[in-house]
Amino acid sequence: YRHSSQYRMWSFTPEQLAQKRVEINARAATVLETRVRSFLEQNPDLGSDEVAAITEKAVPVTADEEVLLVNYFARMLLTFATKMNLPTEVAATAVTFFRRFYLNNSVMDIVPKEIFYTTLFFACKSENFFIGIDSFAKKTKSKNEDVLKYEFRLLESLQFTLMNHHPFKALHGFFLDIQNILQGKVDLNYMGQVYTNCKKTIMEAILTDVVYFYSPPQITLAALLKEDEALAMRYLDLKFANEDSPGVLHLETLRTVIVACKDTMSANAVPSKEQATRTVAKIHFGQNPLSV
């Protein structure tokens, strides 16, 4: 995993991630403010009330507003992918690509709507679930050129790293290993239910920042912990408590990590439609002072 591009390029501490977003937002805000200022200079005949309105409304969105808007559209992307019956891994990759895109771009550069279908189309290609552009455009009621316009920009913003390790395979792996470690002590039908619920929890987790802070197996164990703490703890105790090879893995450390991961997953604020609509309008005014 440490060799993977996911770890090398897309792992951050919460501080690094916040810093990245603030920088991207600041850079785009400066561009926007400069543009509004030059707009006002080029239109000296505007009335004072118009200038006041523009000064008040044609302003940059904040970094927090950006994150909420990106998460709102990411959730929409997931819903859309599910409606298109795309495989879980493809949907997860589309969401991952979409959220990573906005770690190198601001919503004021490219509004989420513009990159929405491009991300989905590109995720299908990247995950060997190829859909030709014509049928994709038809299914999504979009235009070929709109879908393809930002494909290069997306690939570049992803820093040319496309391989994703989503926690779903890890979930399958733990599902197997739990049977081996807790042999005979676990009800298989119940395990099936746990598996299904964990899958949903993991899909929710992919919409949050835990994917940048934790490894896929840790996210999986956190989902398991959320689903059935007793089962998770019993498994980990039996599996790692008597870990004889020193330094291989400290159970206490692992426990702390997955509890923290579980808390971060649960803390995720789901953005409201109203909030998103307001932010989109704000971006629109910022990009089009005349419309104000």
């Binding site: 890890a170 792996g173 197997l176 081996n180 298989l188 893995l249």
Partner: protein, 47 residues
């Protein structure tokens, strides 16, 4: 990685999904191997 942290024991696994696949004729003829799938999933879990 010599410390695999898991023991692949096919007999211990009750996996209706994989069992179903590995008994399909076109899967058998293609060379589908359940142990390859198990190894892949366990690797992703313990990476």
């Amino acid at each position: 990685d010599l410390q695999k942290r898991y023991v692949l024991s096919e007999t211990a696994y009750h996996d209706p999904f994989i069992n179903d696949l590995q008994n399909k004729r076109e899967f058998i003829a293609s060379g589908f191997r359940a142990d390859f799938v198990y190894d892949r999933m366990l690797t992703e879990a313990f990476m």
